[in-house]
C-alpha cells in the first residue's frame, strides 16, 4: 500500500514538472529568398526594402519621361549619389541603398540618353590618371581626356519623417517623405522633382508597452 502511494507521489510530481517544462520545439525556418519588392515577415514602421524598390522605380520612370533629361540633343551628364541626399528622418539607413539603385536603374534604362558620372569614384580615377601621366602605367586603349567629366545635373534630396506614438495603446505611426530633385549645376535650377511618401503604423503587444 505504502509503495503504491510513493509511486503515485512520484508520478504526480513528475507530471507537474513535465507540464511545466514547455519545450520550445518550434521548427526552425530554412533560408528562403524573399522578393525585396514585397513586405517580408519582419516589419517595422521605418523605410524597408519594398519602399526602396517602389520609390526608385517610380522616380526612374518619372525621370525617364522628362524630355529635358532624356531627349536633349547632347545627352546631359548626371551625377547621382548620396552626397547631397540628406536623411533628416528618424529612420537609420544607408542612403546609398536608394541612390545606388536609382543610378543603376536609370543607367540601364536610359540607354545612352543620359550619361552618368561616377563622382564617388573620383579618387580612383584621379589616381589612375596620375599613374598614366607619370608613365608608371601605359595610357590604356581609350584616348586621354583633358580632365574628369563634369556634371550638368546632380541629384539632391531629403528624407524626413513625422512620428507619433499613442502612450496608452503603444501604437506608433510614422509618415516618411522622400524628396528627389535634379539640380542644374550651372544655374542651380531644379529641373526635375519627385516625391515619394508613405505612412505606416504598428502596435506592440501589451507586454511591451
Amino acid at each position: 500500500m505504502r509503495r503504491t502511494h510513493a509511486a503515485i507521489a512520484v508520478i504526480v510530481a513528475g507530471l507537474s514538472l513535465a507540464a511545466c517544462q514547455q519545450v520550445d520545439n518550434t521548427a526552425g525556418a530554412p533560408t528562403v529568398y524573399i522578393d525585396p519588392a514585397t513586405s517580408g515577415p519582419v516589419k517595422g514602421v521605418g523605410i524597408e526594402s519594398q519602399d526602396i524598390v517602389g520609390m526608385t522605380d517610380q522616380m526612374m520612370r518619372d525621370m525617364l519621361s522628362q524630355p529635358r533629361l532624356t531627349n536633349a540633343a547632347t545627352p546631359p551628364s548626371v551625377i547621382i549619389d548620396s552626397e547631397y541626399f540628406h536623411n533628416e528622418s528618424s529612420s537609420r539607413l544607408n542612403k546609398n541603398t536608394i541612390t545606388d539603385r536609382l543610378r543603376i536603374g536609370l543607367n540601364r534604362a536610359a540607354a545612352g540618353r543620359m550619361q552618368f558620372v561616377g563622382r564617388h569614384y573620383a579618387d580612383m580615377v584621379a589616381k589612375e590618371r596620375e599613374l598614366k601621366r607619370q608613365g608608371t602605367v601605359d595610357r590604356g586603349g581609350l584616348p586621354a581626356a583633358r580632365a574628369q567629366k563634369g556634371g550638368d545635373y546632380r541629384l539632391g534630396g531629403r528624407i524626413t519623417s513625422l512620428d507619433s506614438r499613442d502612450p496608452r495603446s503603444g501604437a506608433m505611426q510614422r509618415y516618411s517623405q522622400i524628396v528627389f530633385e535634379m539640380i542644374d549645376l550651372e544655374t542651380s535650377e531644379i529641373v526635375w522633382s519627385g516625391i515619394y511618401e508613405f505612412a505606416k503604423s504598428a502596435q506592440d503587444d501589451i507586454i511591451y508597452r
Binding site: R92, D204, I206, I207
Partner: protein, 466 residues
C-alpha cells in the same frame, strides 16, 4: 484508517505542490556545439568571451539584453566600434520589431507563465540608451545624419510614461540631435532641436556656433530593477557629482585650457523611475489576485481539514458507559469527519499547488552596465588638442579622481566619451535575473575546442611470406 489514507494523499499532493514551480525550457541555457562556439568567439575580444558564450547559450529571449550590454562594453573599449555597431544594430532591430501576437506574448499573459518568458526589449529608458550609444557610434564615424536619426528614434521610445509630463522628456536626445545637426552644418535643424532641449532644461547653455568637440562624461551605476510582486520598482545604486574638463594646447604651451564643469544632461535613474505603471502591470496584478485567492482558499480548506481530522481522531466522551448503538454512531461520525478531512485536505493542497504555479512576478532582467547620469560639455578646440583631462568631482566640489580621454575626430566634429563609476565590462557574464537562480549560480564554462585528429591511412605493407 480513513485518516491515515487522507494523510498519505496529503503527502502525495504536498510533494506535487512543492515541485510545481514552473520554469520553461525557454528560460534555461542551451549548450551550444563547441565548434559553433569557437567559430562565434573567434572575432570577439578575449575579455568578453564568456559573455558572448552566454549570449549564444541564452538565445533569442535575452539576445537584445546581451547585445546591449556587450555593445556598451565594446563601445567603451574604443577600438571595437565596428563590433559595437553590429551589436547595437541587432539590439535596435529587436527593439523595433513589432511583436503583435506571437506565441511568447500570448504565453507571457497566461496564468502559469511569467512575464520573463518574453523576448527582452527593455523598459523605455533602456531602449533609449541603446539608441543613444548607436548614435554616439555614428558620431564617432562622422555619419551625422544617422546619428541624428538614432537620437530621434530614441526619443520616440520615451513616449510610454504613465504621466503626461514624463512622456518624451529625455532631454539628452534633442540635445544630441541638435549637436549632430550642427556637425552636419544644418543650423536651422540644430536650432529646432535645441529649442526642444530647452523645453526640458531651461538653464543649460547651448553649444556655440564654432564648437567642434562634444565631451560626454557618464557617472554612477545602472538603475536596478526589483519586483514587489506584480509591480516593477527601480533602485538607484550610486551617483557621483560632476566633472571638470581641462586640456593642454600644444600651440600654447604652459597655458592649460579650462572648459569648466560638465553639465548634467540626463539623469537616467530619473527617467527610469518616472515611467510609472505599465499597462501589463494590470494583468500581473490580476494574476497576483488570483494567486492570493487560490492561496486563501487553500489555507481555509487546510484549516477545515485539521479541524475535521481532530474530530475524526477524538476518542468521544470519556464519561459513562456507552451503548453499542452510541459507539457505532460515534464511529460513523469519526469516519464521516475523516472523509471530510481528507476531502478538504485534497482541496486545500490542490488550491495551494495551483496558487504556487501562478506566475505574477514582474520581469526584472535589466541592463546592468549602464550609467546613472550623463554630463556633457561642448568646446571649441584646435585639431592639435588630442586628449582632455577629466576631474571627477564630489557633490562638494572635491576632486575624487582624474583621468584622460582621447578626442575621436571624424568629419567636422570630435567626440570625447568617458565613464566613471561602475565598470562598463560586466563582472558577471550573465545579465541580472536573466536565467533562473539555480542557473545564475553556476559558473560559465566555455567548452574546449574540438580537436580534429586526422589519422593517416595505414601504410600498405607487403606481407612477407612466412
Amino acid at each position: 484508517m480513513a485518516v491515515v489514507g487522507a494523510l498519505r494523499w496529503t503527502t502525495c499532493l504536498l510533494m506535487a505542490a512543492l515541485t510545481g514551480g514552473c520554469v520553461t525550457a525557454r528560460e534555461r541555457e542551451a549548450v551550444p556545439e563547441a565548434a559553433l562556439v569557437h567559430s562565434y568567439l573567434s572575432d570577439k575580444p578575449a575579455e568578453l568571451h564568456r559573455h558572448f558564450y552566454v549570449t549564444l547559450a541564452q538565445g533569442p529571449r535575452n539576445r537584445t539584453l546581451n547585445h546591449m550590454r556587450l555593445g556598451l562594453a565594446s563601445f567603451a573599449m574604443g577600438n571595437r566600434d565596428r563590433l559595437a555597431a553590429e551589436l547595437f544594430d541587432d539590439a535596435l532591430a529587436g527593439i523595433e520589431a513589432v511583436h503583435a501576437d506571437t506565441p511568447e506574448t500570448r504565453k507571457a499573459q497566461g496564468l502559469m507563465t511569467g512575464e520573463r518568458i518574453k523576448d527582452f526589449k527593455g523598459e523605455p529608458y533602456e531602449r533609449v540608451m541603446a539608441y543613444y550609444y548607436r548614435g554616439l557610434l555614428y558620431l564617432r564615424d562622422g555619419d551625422y545624419d544617422n546619428a541624428r536619426a538614432s537620437f530621434k528614434g530614441g526619443m520616440l521610445q520615451d513616449a510610454l510614461a504613465e504621466e503626461e509630463q514624463y512622456r518624451a522628456d529625455f532631454a539628452l536626445m534633442p540635445f544630441l540631435q541638435g549637436w549632430a545637426a550642427h556637425c552636419a552644418g544644418k543650423d536651422a535643424l540644430a536650432a529646432e532641436d535645441y529649442r526642444e532641449f530647452k523645453d526640458f532644461n531651461k538653464d543649460a547653455p547651448l553649444p556655440g556656433g564654432t564648437d567642434n568637440v562634444l565631451v560626454l562624461v557618464e557617472t554612477g551605476g545602472a538603475p536596478v530593477k526589483v519586483s514587489d510582486g506584480p509591480r516593477l520598482r527601480l533602485r538607484r545604486t550610486a551617483g557621483t557629482g560632476s566633472a571638470r574638463i581641462v586640456w593642454n594646447d600644444p600651440d600654447r604651451p604652459g597655458r592649460p585650457g579650462n572648459g569648466g564643469q560638465a553639465l548634467l544632461l540626463e539623469d537616467i535613474f530619473h527617467q527610469a523611475s518616472t515611467r510609472g505603471g505599465r499597462p501589463f502591470d494590470a494583468i500581473l496584478e490580476g494574476k497576483a489576485e488570483f494567486k492570493s485567492t487560490a492561496d486563501t482558499v487553500g489555507d481555509a480548506a487546510l484549516v477545515g481539514a485539521v479541524v475535521a481530522a481532530n474530530v475524526a481522531t477524538s476518542g468521544g466522551s470519556p464519561y459513562g458507559r456507552k451503548t453499542r448503538q452510541q459507539r457505532e454512531n460515534e464511529n460513523d461520525a469519526r469516519a464521516a469527519a475523516a472523509m471530510v478531512a481528507g476531502g478538504l485536505a485534497v482541496i486545500g493542497l490542490l488550491s495551494k499547488a495551483f496558487a504556487s504555479t501562478i506566475e505574477a512576478q514582474a520581469d526584472i532582467r535589466y541592463w546592468d552596465n549602464l550609467s546613472d547620469r550623463v554630463l556633457g560639455l561642448t568646446l571649441t578646440l584646435p585639431d592639435g588638442v588630442k586628449t582632455l583631462g577629466v576631474e571627477f568631482l564630489s557633490p562638494g566640489g572635491n576632486v575624487l579622481r582624474q583621468d584622460r580621454v582621447a578626442i575621436q575626430r571624424a568629419g567636422r566634429c570630435g567626440l570625447a566619451w568617458i565613464r566613471d563609476g561602475a565598470a562598463t565590462l560586466p563582472r558577471n557574464p550573465r545579465a541580472p535575473n536573466s536565467v533562473p537562480a539555480d542557473i545564475m549560480a553556476t559558473p560559465v564554462t566555455i567548452p574546449p575546442p574540438v580537436v580534429l585528429v586526422t589519422t593517416s591511412p595505414p601504410r600498405e605493407t607487403k606481407e612477407s611470406p612466412p
